[in-house]
Symmetry: C2
């Protein structure tokens, strides 16, 4: 008789989660089995519960900001061993053989396995992942807070690496929430001059504490006019449409507007506005295993951590309601009490 995993699952679109058990099958040779100690909640967990993107399958077990300890390892596993503390994010496997994987871009593998798509996620007692996506967590990091780095954190750290952001750059962050509050910390510790865009007066002081040197209300045309032509890089973590021509205008020569928040309405880009100052508009998904490891080392050296609120995993529905209500400051972590 094989082992059963205990989890929390949505049984239909938008339903509250309820206890759910399933047989995970055989451990694959390249997989580790992780005893989950903590799991962050990301807005995309809600999107998947609600089938916002149209590809959710039920019963659906959310969770992709997972922290735990390796309790079993297949015989092809490298780098990690039983007893290691690891984190698992959006991806749980990649083919290792396509041009992207071989180039170190496992996150761009078109057949990558995703932790909670076609399988079950981290709102559970145990979870499995291929070894390359089970990233060792440096001892200096608090395991309670580290989970959100594996989705929200890497989503905003990866562009700093991919876009070659320099410590001499003047950068902007749009949207000071779960992702943005980590981006402010990363970019200020990276050595940049950091401008936080927020229309919320309440978040202005917090943004300054998190490392922003200046805050700007993106809806105030006088403040935006002063910023014109001055930024090298703007990171968009918000999902809502904004006044894109004005925001592009805040970029200086060679400036780049980079999306990690999936703004659903197409952004109208005038080719001429890109040509004149040699500007670009780009986007990126979560980072590779190598970039994830770099991020964790950077967090350890600079004492970077998300600001979190804790809920026991058995209160997962309360936690989801808290997030749905826009009340999370800034990221929720579930502490496992279902072992």
């Amino acid at each position: 008789m094989s082992k059963q995993f205990k989890a929390y699952a949505a049984t239909a679109k938008g339903e509250p989660l309820s206890p759910f058990e399933f047989d995970p099958g055989e451990l694959r040779p390249e997989q580790v089995e992780v005893k989950v100690s903590h799991c962050g909640i990301c807005h995309s967990d809600l999107s998947m519960i609600d089938n916002d993107w149209g590809f959710s399958a039920y019963p659906f077990v959310p969770g992709h900001e997972i922290v735990g300890t390796v309790v079993a390892a297949g015989d092809q596993v490298k780098r990690v061993k039983v007893g290691d503390r690891v984190g698992v994010g959006w991806y749980s496997g990649s083919c290792m053989a396509c041009p992207q994987c071989l180039a170190g871009d496992h996150n761009l593998c078109t057949t990558a396995e995703q932790t909670m798509i076609g399988r079950h996620g981290g709102f559970a007692d145990y979870v499995r992942a291929n070894w390359e996506w089970a990233t060792p967590i440096p001892a200096a990091l608090d395991p309670v807070k580290v989970g959100p780095l594996f989705c929200g954190g890497i989503t905003v750290f990866n562009p700093i690496i991919q876009c070659h952001v320099q410590p001499t750059d003047r950068v902007g962050v749009i949207g000071i929430g779960g992702l943005g509050h980590m981006a402010l910390q990363f970019l200020s510790k990276w050595g940049c001059e950091v401008v936080a865009f927020t229309s919320s007066a309440a978040k202005r002081d917090e943004a300054l504490k998190l490392g922003a040197h200046q805050t700007v209300n993106s809806k105030d045309s006088d403040e935006m006019a002063k910023l014109a032509g001055s930024l090298d890089f703007i990171l968009v973590t918000a999902n809502a449409p904004l006044d894109w021509p004005t925001i592009l205008g805040a970029l200086g020569p060679r400036g780049r507007l980079h999306f990690v928040g999936a703004v659903l309405e197409p952004v109208p880009v005038a080719a001429f506005s890109l040509i004149m100052g040699q500007k670009s508009v780009s986007g990126s998904p979560l980072g590779s295993p190598a970039t994830t490891a770099k991020m964790l080392d950077f967090c350890a050296r600079h004492e970077i951590a998300p600001i979190i609120e804790k809920f026991p995993m058995s209160k997962v529905n309360d936690a989801l309601e808290h997030l749905r209500g826009g009340k999370a400051r800034y990221r929720i972590v579930l502490e496992n009490d279902i072992h």
Copy 2:
């Protein structure tokens, strides 16, 4: 009594050019005076004659693909001397002191002097330019054909440098005209696998002769479907709106869609389409003096030249009508007969 320059000028919007003389004033210390032997015609000369962009001033002397010999040099001139053959393009001066100039990006200087804006261009017997924009022409290049490299050529060569296009890349060129026919030569000699996008059957064979390995009809959905996810870089030299989502879909992971043709209608870009494959959309203007010199050396080593049609400068109106009629194959050069 100061010298008079003889030129051809439009005296009002859209008018044919007519002989025009003007006093160029004192030669500035950093300027050279160039006796014009040849001048290319660019589509932007027509746009300026017609005041398409709203900032033309009349009388207007077009011409910014200039080849000639230095006949006088101010006492601050560096790098070039009397007797040297040089080319002058869109820019004729830059401040040399702003962060862009100091970084070698004189083409991004926000106060750069433009050859035919606020002064007179190269459809003339003589023209002046600051030394940094009077680029020496390697002896191996045919002076009759080199003019178009100084606007059309550098516009498509510069992105190869700026976007770090690699010889291992698979690239596409959209629009096989004055710019595109040079882009095909540059990219094939750069070592890339080159796909030419054209809906004109007549241009297919020409594109292959110019270095394309394959041609694709961008309006044929079957052909476009086969290309999906396969290109690293697409250069847009056309000015007309296209099916941008399909073209973005032709890019593979880390792919970039780059504009040098000023498509006037905004391009709708879905953030999600950039995020998933880490793609970007960008643009660039003409290149710097350093990049222009690199281009000329590259042309000399690889025997790259635009395909041109010649007109005497005294027949400039015939030449402009030829271009207006869409008949230029591929670039027109005026030979000076007004000395």
